[in-house]
Every structure is written in C-alpha cells, then in structure tokens.
C-alpha cells in the first residue's frame, strides 16, 4: 500500500494500531519526495535529520500512549514563511536565503507540541506576493495534475506537496486567497480561518491586518484536525482572539439539513470560465439535495475588493518589509554609506513583484496621496465588511467559486501584474472582512484540472464552514482523487 496517498486521519489510525511507526512513515514520505520532487519542486528546504528525530520522539510517545494527538507521528510540511528554529527560513526570497531563525513560529511550535513530524519548508511566491508561485526567487513549483501549469499561490508549494503525496498535510498562509486559490488549483482542501484565530507570531509579515495561517489537506476531516491543533490565543500576538478552540473534527457530522447557503450574484459574473461555473452550479445542486436552503444574497461592493486589497496590502507591506535592510539578518550588499548599503541590499535581495508592491505602498502612503488611496480604501473595506454582515443575516454560509479559472499555464500571466491580481477576485473579500473561508474540490475540467468551491462563514464560525464542506465532500467524493505522477 502507498502510505503517502493516505489522509492524515488514515495515517493516525495506522500509527495508533501500530501498523506502521512514525519513523517508517517519515521514511516513506522522504522516499516519495526523492521520487517526485524533481517534477514538482514543492520544497525549498527538506529537513530529513530533524524529521527523523521528531519521528523517533513521536514513536516513543506512541509507545507510551500518553499525551497523544491526531497529529502525533504524522509527517507534514510547512510553508517557508513560518520561522522554524534552526531550519533555514527563506520566504522564497534571496534577501533571506541563509536566514536561520532562532525561534519557532507559534503555529510551528503547536505542530511540534502535537507530535507532528516536519519534513521541510514549502516553496511560495516571494514574501507571499503572487498567485502562481512563479514569484519564488528560487524556482517555480509545478501543479501535480499538469506539470506545465502553476499550482496557484502564494502557498503553491504547500498545496502541491499535499496533492503530490509529499506530506500528509501542510500549513500555509492566506492574505488575499493564498491558501484557498492554490488548494483549488491542486484539488485539495484549504482553509483560511477567522482573522486572529491562529497566531501570526513568527509568520513573516506581508500585510498584517489580512495575513492568517491555516491548513491545506487532502480532505475536510484533516483540515479540522490541523486547525484544532494550530488555533488559539497567543500572548505573543496581540491580534489573536481569546475564544475557546472547539474540537472542529467533532463538529463535522450531522448533515446540513436546513442550512441556509447564500449565493451572491456578484460572484457569478459574465465571461466566467464555463467549466468552473457549471461545476459550482452542480455543487450548489448537491447542497440543495443534502437539505440546504439556497438563498440569493448580494455583496454589492465586491467589484471594489481587488482595488481595496492592492492598496491596503501594499501599504502594509511597504512598512513591514522595511525591516529587511542588511543590518540584523539576511543579505547585505555593501555601499559607500548606510543609505547606499540599504539600497544595494534591497535591490539585490527583492524580486520585481516585491519591489513593485513596496513602491505602490510607499506611493499610496506618501504625502498628498494618503487620503485618496489608503484612507479611501480602508473606508471601502468597511463597506465590504458591512455587505457580509447584511448577507449573513439571511444565510449561514456563502458559496462561490474559489477562482475564476482552473490552474493556468506557467508563464501565462507573468507579463502583466494586473491580470495576475485578478485571479484573486473571489478570495480577497474574505480577508478584507476577516471572516473564515475554505476551498474544497468540486470537480475537474475536461483536461483533468481541479476546480474549487469556496465556502465562507461568519466570524469565528469555522465549524459551520467545515460542516458544510464535509457534507458536500461525503456526497461528491472528489477529495478521494489523487494526482498521478
């Protein structure tokens, strides 16, 4: 049996029944990585020594049978935006190419405390800026379903590693769709929790008011298990929410009879890819058959979301990325004086998309433009939040496509930044409103490219989002399909 094709919860069962040890499992995944990584390029760094050590510890814990969690002994991967103590963390940028963090991100620490085995660090768009993983300073990641296509982004390495069986599950981050859009492109499950649900400590900041960590997994139960492990209040992140973490896995069952599923007309636009819209329409029919009530809702400010996002996110990025200056860590390029050293370092260390966004953010925050751009965008952001408040008075979840198309070809959108930005058109509003959202597989195009269904929920109501996703998954069965490599 190919252990690497199994879900996290199937592996948990095998570990508990002693059918396999964590060391055996870790070796199986390391072998799988060595077999397919040449094609997929999902990892920036593979850490076999640390992984095998963690696996031995997990086996001891499993032998004792105390303090076990569903993650104990299971090999996972982590997006290279999370600091990992003693293991290189690059954010797929040359400016951090040799950065060895002296501490773990809280989400990583929680995975380790739960007994998970971290296999390595996943490739991504540099500083999470992109929707295709082509903006990695090192190499692009390939979509395991079609190697000439992108895996989506920015958490493309995480999604591809899950789809390719190079880990049991992964964690990514989502600022404007960076978990959900790659999950959609790679035919896996991805969840962006409520803003503040998972600590951002040790997660390299892109846009602090939007960034949120979450799981990328083979099925919905796995997503629930991973989220339960990483969520919770953290004194090291003042924006983390002090609300009890439910057992998300326990809340999945029971069906969705009577659930009100809102369908916003603004997300079913003219010119949308036909295969995507028909797959999503069929998924909505399935929800109806499962007993959900389909409710038309309206989110009138949707058309402004991309504009708001690119002003708010770049403004925050221009400030956050000021820390990369060649002084405390990372790359340094010498110059005649301090200012020249900063400029040379940042010029050599940042890729073109990162520079473009820093410049856009610097421009919109600069004297004379602040009111017209940043302030205006923050006001429209309020209106987008109010749209969701109003819609959720009429429904329990909102169902939309995750992305306007299936995975596009490598190189197809790299010439025009704006075209690339529009791949996030359906995922961005969720971050602006701070609400939870998931993407789950809902079919394939005729070329066997995965299509994703997005389910959005009320603030802190991950349970209903996951329950809806679980009911759909059980009825539709798409999550059982695996990419052939």
């Amino acid at each position: 049996m190919d252990l690497t094709a199994l879900t996290l919860h199937e592996l948990t069962d095998k570990l508990r029944k002693k059918e396999v040890s964590s060391v055996e499992l870790t070796n199986a995944f390391l072998k799988r990585i060595s077999q397919v990584e040449d094609k997929v390029n999902a990892y920036v760094t593979i850490s076999p020594d640390e992984a095998l050590k963690a696996a031995k510890d997990a086996d001891a814990r499993l032998a004792d049978g105390v303090n076990l969690t569903p993650l104990t002994g299971v090999p996972v991967s982590v997006k290279d935006i999370f600091c990992t103590k003693g293991v290189r963390t690059t954010c797929s940028s040359k400016i951090l190419e040799n950065f060895i963090p002296p501490f773990d991100a809280t989400a990583v620490k929680k995975l380790k405390d739960a007994g998970a085995v971290i296999l390595g660090k996943n490739n991504m768009d540099e500083f999470a800026m992109g929707s295709s993983t082509e903006n990695s300073a090192f190499f692009p990641t390939k979509n395991p379903w079609a190697l000439d296509r992108v895996p989506g982004g920015s958490s493309g390495g995480s999604a591809a590693s899950v789809a390719a069986g190079e880990c049991a599950a992964s964690i990514g981050t989502d600022t404007g769709g960076s978990i959900r859009q790659p999950a959609s492109c790679c035919g896996v499950v991805g969840m962006k929790p409520t803003y503040g649900r998972v600590s951002r400590y040790g997660m390299i900041a892109f846009a602090s008011s939007l960034d949120q960590a979450g799981p990328i997994t083979k099925d919905v139960l796995d997503a629930a298990l991973m989220l339960t492990a990483i969520a919770g209040r953290d004194p090291l992140d003042a924006t983390s929410i002090d609300s009890p973490v439910p057992d998300y896995a326990a809340g999945l069952k029971g069906g969705i009879k009577g659930l009100r599923a809102g369908i916003p007309k603004e997300y079913f636009i003219e010119g949308m890819d036909f295969e995507v819209s028909s797959a999503v329409s069929k998924a909505i029919e399935t929800l109806k058959k499962l007993g959900a009530e389909i409710v038309p809702v309206t989110l009138p400010n949707t058309e402004y979301a991309v504009s708001v996002y690119y002003l708010v996110a770049t403004a925050e990025a221009s400030s956050n990325l000021a820390r990369f200056d060649g002084v405390k860590y990372g790359l340094r390029q010498d110059g005649g004086n301090l200012i020249e050293m900063y400029k040379n370092t940042r010029d050599a260390g940042f890729g073109p998309e990162v520079k473009r966004r820093i410049m856009l953010g610097t421009y919109s925050l600069s004297a004379g433009y602040y009111d017209a751009y940043y302030k205006k965008a923050s006001q429209v952001r309020t209106l987008i939040g109010r749209d969701f408040d109003a819609a959720f008075k009429k429904c329990d979840v909102i169902v939309t496509p995750t992305a306007p198309t299936a995975a596009f070809k490598i190189g197809e959108k790299t010439q025009d930044p704006l075209t690339m930005y529009l791949s996030d058109i359906f995922t961005i509003s969720c971050n602006l409103a701070g609400i939870p959202g998931a993407s789950i597989p809902c079919g394939f195009t005729k070329d066997m490219l995965p299509i994703g269904l997005q389910i959005l929920g009320k603030r802190l109501d991950e349970t209903t989002v996951l329950k809806t996703a679980f009911a759909y998954e059980e009825a539709a069965g798409w999550s059982k399909k695996r990419a052939q490599l």
Binding site: L311, G335, L338, R346, Y363, S378, Q379
Partner: protein, 94 residues
C-alpha cells in the same frame, strides 16, 4: 481624483523613499500607472461618514508586561551580516 501617469521622476522619488535602487524606472512607471488606473474605481464609492477599517480585528490586546527570558545576545546576533563587540555593525553614519 483622476490618474496622471507616473513619470520616471515620480518613480525615482518613491524608490528613494522606499530605499530601493532607482533602476528600471520606465517599466515601473508604466506598471504602477496601470495599477493606479485600476484602483481609480474606488472614487465612484460614496464613503461620506464611513469609518475606515484599521485592522482585521481588535484581537484581545496586549499581554501583561512581565519580565521573561529573551534571546541571548549571541543568538540575536547569529544572523547578523556583520557584528562586533556584541553589536550589529553598519557603515559609518556620521
């Protein structure tokens, strides 16, 4: 406000503020103008009296200000491109 195309000089000014080298100014001027033209649609929205959203959530605030162990000096300096006598070293400032 309507968009006047960004000039190479505008880009140079922004690059200097952002501590970026002032290269490829023409490409950036063109690309940034295009993006700014797209975000121009926000001017159609009436935001009179609407409070700006400052962040994703209020969160639950700062922790208690208690003394606890932090990184040791050597660890904190372990990634420094240049360090001397327990300090980060930079080119002469004055």
């Amino acid at each position: 406000m309507s968009i006047t195309p960004l000039t190479k000089d505008d880009v140079k000014k922004v690059a200097a503020l952002a501590r970026l080298a002032e290269t490829e100014t023409e490409t950036y001027a063109h690309q940034l103008t295009k993006i700014l033209a797209h975000v121009e649609n926000l001017s159609r929205v009436d935001t009179t009296g609407v409070e700006p959203t400052a962040g994703g959530s209020e969160g639950d605030g700062a922790r208690e200000d208690a003394v606890k162990e932090s990184l040791h000096q050597a660890t904190a300096l372990s990634n420094a491109p240049q360090a001397e006598k327990g300090c980060f070293k930079v080119p002469q400032v004055v």
